[in-house]
């Protein structure tokens, strides 16, 4: 059974004029896949990611996450699924500015009710994994973009989620750091077997993944297998 199974997902925004963003999305993502969702801005890729991350509702269709139907969830249930199943990585890092790196990483465990000491140990462990031990006590505005994104990745990993959803993870980074971050995600996928879904509009970023799902005007176009990572000859350069 696929980890993620979308059947005929439709989503319309009703801000003044109805906007039909997703027009019948069908998608299956297996456990352990490293997938990119690619599309131009306005193609519906962010909406799709929000639905995958249970951050937003869909109008019709079914979304099975690990065999469980994600529909009409209460806020509390949604929060719990997000907390336990999914790790988020955002373009703008979305770290809490008045908390240190280690406190940011701890936060998901705080909401799980993990005791402080245990939480702290675990957060330090993940920061070490990402080579940030010496930055644990620093605030986000004292760190570089790549460091911030690595803190965000540590925060996404700490709950040991099944899926990591990355929304333009390299969007705010220079090309060198972008490569580093993508390598990191790749390593996590290969070594830990975490399912990773990256949303991007950059083909270079998408090329690092194993499967590229093209989305255009709210429908899924072609799905490329990209095991040789030669979908785009230019490499990861902006």
């Amino acid at each position: 059974m696929a980890l993620i199974e979308l059947k005929d997902i439709n989503k319309t925004y009703n801000n003044g004029q109805p906007l039909h963003v997703l027009k019948g999305i069908n998608l299956q993502i297996e456990q352990g896949e490293f997938v990119a969702i690619m599309g131009a801005s306005g193609s519906g890729k962010s909406t799709l990611l929000n639905i995958l991350g249970i951050l937003d509702n869909y109008d019709t269709g079914t979304y099975l996450l690990d065999g469980t139907l994600m529909k009409d969830l209460s806020e509390k249930q949604a929060a719990s699924y997000r907390n336990h199943m999914i790790g988020f990585i955002f373009q703008s890092f979305n770290l809490i500015s008045f908390k240190t790196a280690v406190e940011n990483v701890e936060l998901p465990l705080y909401y799980q009710g993990v005791p402080r000491r245990q939480r702290h140990e675990k957060a330090m462990e993940y920061l070490e994994k990402l080579g940030l031990t010496s930055w644990a006590g620093h605030f986000p505005n004292e760190m570089s973009g790549g460091q911030k994104q690595r803190v965000a990745i540590a925060r996404a990993l700490i709950t040991q989620p099944r899926i990591i959803l990355a929304d333009e993870p390299t969007g705010a980074l220079d090309s060198k750091t972008s490569v580093e971050v993508m390598q990191l995600l790749k390593r996590l996928n290969q070594e830990e077997g975490i399912t990773i879904i990256v949303v991007t509009h950059e083909s270079g970023v998408a090329n690092e993944t194993d499967k590229i799902i093209h989305i255009k005007d709210g429908v899924i176009g072609k799905i490329e297998e990209n095991t040789r990572h030669d979908a785009w000859q230019g490499g990861l350069i902006k």
């Binding site: 997000r82 373009q91 909401y111 925060r155």
Partner: protein, 416 residues
Amino acid sequence: MKLFDTDTFREILDSLLRNKSRSLLTGFGVFWGVFMLMLLIGGGQGLKGLLMKNFEGFAQNTGIAFSSQTSKPYKGFKKGRTWNMTYADVERLKNLVPELETVTPTVSFWGRSIARGEKSFSDAVVKGVRPDYANIETPKLRYGRYLTDSDNAAERKVCVLGKKIYTNLFPEGGDPCGQRIRIDGSYFTVVGVDWNEGQISINGSADETVSIPLNLARKAYNQGNIVHLICFTGKEGIAISDITPRVREVVNRAHYVDPTDEQALFIMNTQLIFGIVDNLFRGINFLVWLIGLGTLLAGIIGVSNIMMVSVRERTTEIGIRRAIGATPRQILGQILSESIVLTLVAGMSGIVFSVLILAGVEMAMTQGGILKAAFQVPFATAVLAAMLLTVLGVAAGAMPASRALQIKPVDAMRDE
């Protein structure tokens, strides 16, 4: 969500301390409201105490009757006649008005000089009283005893001194009982000192009074049958104002005075005066609560406003928290606890500060180790205020918290 674990508390402190001056200024509104409320309550209570001090020792249901010129013609007598009450009136009242408990006659002489050796007190009131006068104005004996029936029967030359006279004649302090002083040229033995400070001036201040046995005073000052004042108390459950007309009728009729002539026999009713004071302070209390609660409310609205601003500012932060798994309840709890902590800390410092100020006032009002009137707010009032603050904190946080709940996690990503 546990309210009092260190984590929650640190989260709250973090966000409150992030805007120190803003939290401080917002808290000041609440602080000032509580401070004013407590100070006004304490002040009002203290003033009432000071006023009540004037009636110290007086039974609450006391009537004091004294005769004056008639204002109505009666049975062939013209108005404007002067007359005096006599000892027979005391017996009449006892027999004819069964609702009365104590009926006691007194004579008093103003501007008398009291001396002991070189020391003297020139403007004293010498009061001739029976021992049962103690039922009217309870003596607060610092030394010795009060006058007794046998003092009265034997016409002993003994006296009880008021506080002020005692301190003038015995500046060195100590028990003066057994010592002799001079009242208007005759020598008296001191048997007691009354520490009352009641200021009901109708019969002279208690602290400037020398009490001597009535029978002795009658003779020493040549008063014959004349009674200056008849003091009486009602039995348990009897209102003095209800029996005043009967008292007047009994006394007036015996002296051929119109039984309804209120000027001829003036009756002072302490119950009435206590009632007036009570009403006055009920009004003052009402104003105190109105002003205090009004100020407090303004402060609370300030807190609510600032929390609203804070929630708006933290849209992204709250969105992030929601995205990584905070439940709506946890967000609600956080905003509410921030509001409660801010309100409580500010309010508690208001209570503490006002208690300190009131303690200072009490210290200034204390003379010779004796407190004149209690200004301090009762503990129960402070506890009530603290509970009120918690409720107000919740109320102040309610709107901003519901606003925070409307923030969807998606909003966190919308700042790009």
